[in-house]
Symmetry: C2
Subunit: 213 residues, 2 copies
DNA sequence: TACAGTACTGAACGTGCGTTCAGCCAACAG
DNA sequence: CTGTTGGCTGAACGCACGTTCAGTACTGTA
């Protein structure tokens, strides 16, 4: 493993834990077993290193996802989990990067929305997925729900008492997802009540807005 | 508004944007219109200020949620949205705090899981929500999905081209949620195929694990 | 041999940080 | 009036940061 790769790996592991300013060039250099000066020799500046990490992780996710789709093994949760099993720091970095809205990661998010929408459309044609009056909105909502687990996996882990990317945790989460996504969470009766509730809330908000609140 | 409150407000707005180390005591003091020394006079240290912000925001969310439940207006998305309308920086701070796993916020997460589970149980008794073989797991999954929007709202906003906490954005998201939570996303046929897929994937992973991967 | 290029280091520079501290000023008690 | 308290400040301290730069060691080329 080259010194450059070691530096990048150390940075990918440190940035999500200590934050940008909290991560020092000296600490990364120490982790990689090189001098601080070499970090700047290879990446120009600390900002350059951060950009390199963003692009490295995004590219890795992109190619892994593309390959998974080609293989036909890209069934959502399983994809992230396989990434996690390959390299936990990458998934941690992805969640961190997503939550700070880094440009490269934001672009990735938008691509994943497109891809989800496309895959949902294909599945719809095959009769696997129901049709929606707002396919784009549905894709955004589903992707956000999915990536929520990436960002919040630490909390899920604690609340479930098991690793959400491990075998048992993944099974459990997927089963619950299938449960609410197939049978549905709400009974048909609740759906009527809930839509009335949404309508009432919306009118309340509209009124507040009109009042200048 | 007291100087202490102005300082805390400035900190709540700055921390999620610039990060912990990226936010300087001097910048907060400037925002609040006071001297850097006063910040430390009131909060002891920068860490003390951060802790105070965590507790302030968590307490605010807690009491707002409790009040909303008492009022019976606590229907999920609407609650977060009303918080956002009250104070966008609080919601932004909450998402940031959640993503960094701050102790106070982690405790809040666990409380919200308990509360969700309880509310779901009540709704189940009323025939509004279907029963689940794993109520706790379901509560965790649903809460994570919900809070995913808090953490990732910037991306949702960009992908949807509208403010997810605004009136129209909220309606659109809620409708899509209702859609997948009521009718279900998958057709019954897909559910069979998917559960087979999960089983196959799990066996693949089990094999990998056995192989020492 | 000499030369060029690349990976890499140690020491140093200047900056901006969190924090300290002596003291100022207004409010209030005796 | 004097004394005390508490909100508040300006100046300063020491430290750790990102970055620079001259220089070393090694490798390949002629």
């Amino acid at each position: 493993m080259t010194a450059e790769a070691r530096i990048r790996q150390a940075a990918v592991e440190r940035f999500p834990v200590d934050g940008i300013e909290g991560t020092t060039v000296r600490a990364i250099a120490a982790d990689a077993g090189v001098s601080p000066a070499l970090v700047l020799h290879h990446f120009g500046s600390k900002q350059g290193l951060l950009d390199a990490c963003d692009h490295y992780v995004v590219e890795l996710v992109r190619t892994t996802k593309t390959r998974a789709i080609a293989d036909g093994t890209a069934t959502d949760a399983g994809f992230i989990a396989s990434m996690y099993r390959m390299a936990p720091p990458i998934v941690r970095y992805l969640g961190w990067s997503l939550s700070r809205g880094a440009p490269a990661t934001s672009r990735l998010f938008d691509e994943l929305v497109q891809e989800s929408e496309r895959l949902l459309a294909v599945a719809e044609e095959q009769g696997m997925v129901r049709s929606s009056p707002d396919p784009h909105g549905r894709a955004v909502v589903l992707l956000t729900m999915q990536l929520g687990f990436v960002v919040l996996h630490e909390h899920v882990s604690r609340a479930l008492g098991m690793d959400p990317f491990g075998l048992d945790g993944l099974m459990r989460i997927t089963e619950r997802e299938m449960e609410v996504f197939t049978g549905g969470l709400f009974t048909p009766e609740a759906a009527r009540v809930a839509s009335q509730g949404v309508e009432a809330a919306s009118q309340l908000m509209r009124k507040e807005t009109a009042d200048g609140g």
